[in-house]
């Protein structure tokens, strides 16, 4: 009765309410309101990269078909399914199918079906790659991207409206990128121990595949140990890439700088991972030099095409110029 005027009654924080709020916050974070066309452009980049990768950067996987079958050590997934022993014919079929389905996905023919086919084929391509005694982790984010992109509608390249499906897909790729760094730091401590930091880790890497840039550094072990600390520090700090504002931006450019340094010294490109780093950038704002044809998300004949579903910028954006759209918006 004697409560002060103007002081609100304290809110009771039941565990249920706290959990509900946390779940709602997590939901908002996993489904950010990112523009639809960002996912569409990112999707095009990824499928273009798969074609480039199969033809150029991972072409050596095709060599495995020539190797004796005795060297094939199928991974668990290959033993369970069971996947066939790679032969030149099998790898040619996979390679051709990957190229065809990636091209179809790129031009948006049966996008979900072709997207799923690319994911399955690329996974098999990687299983072949990693079934000869060495498993790499630099393609995890790309595999995640290929898995989630078929869930995004590929049309409406000009649609800047928010889209939770696009937001979820891009967020998944971003988290996969961060996990690649963060869990790599964990793996260093798990398999290398604290000695990874103080040992001759980079000396070994340079002796095996150092470039002319790296070779002189081998005379300065203390410098290389310092670099080892920096690498782990960066990897442990990588979750900050997900932060908004300057902090996230700094970490993102640090990632690009990190990979540039690694390539200059060790010829390790991590290209599949670098492509996925683009999920952090507003790639939809990069204008290609060639004219772009626009397609409505809902399709030409759809009755929904001009029914904005509550938002002017949806659907009608393909009909209105930016200026006209801005005028229309400002008058409301």
């Amino acid at each position: 009765m004697a409560r002060e005027i103007g002081r609100s009654k304290p809110v009771t924080q039941t565990p249920g309410a706290v959990l509900q709020r946390a779940a709602a916050g997590l939901g908002r974070w996993w489904y950010p309101s990112l523009p639809h066309n960002r996912a569409v452009v990112f999707r095009s980049i990824i499928y273009t990269f798969v074609i480039v990768d199969v033809l150029l950067t991972s072409f050596a996987i095709g060599w495995h078909g020539e190797l004796p079958g005795e060297l094939y050590q199928p991974l668990l997934i290959g033993r369970i399914l069971p996947l066939p022993v790679p032969t030149p014919l099998l790898l040619s079929v996979i390679k051709t199918a990957l190229l065809v389905f990636s091209a179809l996905a790129l031009v948006r023919k049966m996008p979900r079906l072709t997207g799923i086919a690319v994911f399955v084929l690329y996974l098999e391509w990687m299983v072949v790659n990693f079934s000869y005694g060495k498993v790499d982790h630099d393609r995890f984010a790309l595999l995640v991207a290929l898995a989630v992109l078929p869930t995004v509608s590929p049309n409406a390249t000009q649609d800047e409206g928010p889209d939770e499906a696009a937001g979820w897909a891009l967020r998944c790729v971003q988290v996969a990128v961060v996990l690649t760094y963060f869990m790599a730091a964990y793996a260093k401590l798990r398999f290398g121990g604290i000695e990874w930091l103080n040992g001759a880790t980079l000396v070994r890497a340079i002796l095996r595949r150092g470039t002319v840039v790296a070779d002189p550094l081998i005379a300065y072990p203390a410098l290389l140990i310092g670099a080892q600390y920096l690498i782990v520090a960066f990897e442990l700090a990588s979750p900050l890439m997900l932060a908004k504002g300057r902090l996230g931006r700094v970490l993102l450019w640090a990632a690009f700088a990190f990979h540039a340094g690694i390539y200059a010294t060790l010829r390790l490109s991590f290209i599949p991972h670098l492509v996925c780093l683009l999920a952090f950038l507003p790639v939809e704002r990069v204008r290609p030099p060639w004219p772009v044809t626009t397609r409505s998300r809902t399709g030409r004949g759809s009755p929904d095409r001009y029914s904005s579903q509550g938002h002017v910028c949806q659907g009608s954006a393909t009909k209105l110029s930016r200026k006209a759209l801005a005028e229309r918006v400002s008058t409301r």
Binding site: R38, D163, A200
Partner: protein, 200 residues
């Protein structure tokens, strides 16, 4: 040039330029003024973004989110579990272990290569890639090559199958170059023959 591509771009959360237009098409019972997506109940896991999915039936949207939430949780769980307890064999849920091991500053660094003799008597030094294997793969298969020299015969046959007859291999050895380290600096080099195959 790269910078100019992104000129004027901020990395802040995308500022939505969205204006609601009255529409009763999907929510006739609510009236024009209340037809925004914000009137729909939030999907499981949190509130929704208010555009693309606004026109979808709520049940379909909930189902889509549920499936996405489940897949996200499963993959996340798989990655964490495999990182803590898993091995390479569990790919695609394998630990992220490229360059995760180390060498003592007074230890050794090994680097494999192949040496061969052709039927015409020419001696060749071959990189691992010349026989279709990455260096890291040969390092991973080193114990098998040591135990089973017959694997070298199969590699030699594969190599000979594609080249001219005179380049067919009569002998193939897997050799390991060993760099000794002292105080983290290279301090000597030697070689060890890991495995040899000779044509009889």
């Amino acid at each position: 040039m790269f910078r100019s591509c992104f000129s004027g771009v901020t990395f802040e959360a995308y500022r939505l330029r969205v204006v609601r237009v009255p529409s009763t098409e999907h929510h006739p019972q609510k009236g024009a003024a209340n037809a925004g997506a914000g009137d729909q109940p939030p999907a499981p896991g949190g509130s929704t973004s208010r555009a693309f999915t606004a026109g979808l039936p709520t049940a379909a949207r909930r189902r889509g989110r549920l499936v996405r939430n489940l897949l996200t949780a499963l993959v996340f769980l798989g990655v964490i579990t495999s990182s803590v307890w898993g091995e390479d064999d569990h790919f695609p849920f394998a630990p992220f272990r490229m360059y995760s091991t180390t060498t003592s500053p007074s230890g050794t660094v090994t680097m494999p290569h192949f040496e061969a003799v052709t039927v015409s008597g020419a001696r060749l030094e071959l990189e691992t890639e010349d026989l279709g294997l990455r260096t890291a793969e040969v390092l991973g298969l080193m114990d098998r090559f040591r135990r089973e020299p017959a694997l070298l015969r199969r590699l030699a046959q594969t190599h000979g199958a594609t080249g001219p007859a005179r380049s067919r291999l009569a002998e193939l050895s897997l050799v390991q170059g060993i760099h000794s380290l002292r105080d983290g600096r290279p301090d000597g080099y030697s070689e060890e023959i890991v495995s040899v195959w000779r044509e009889r």
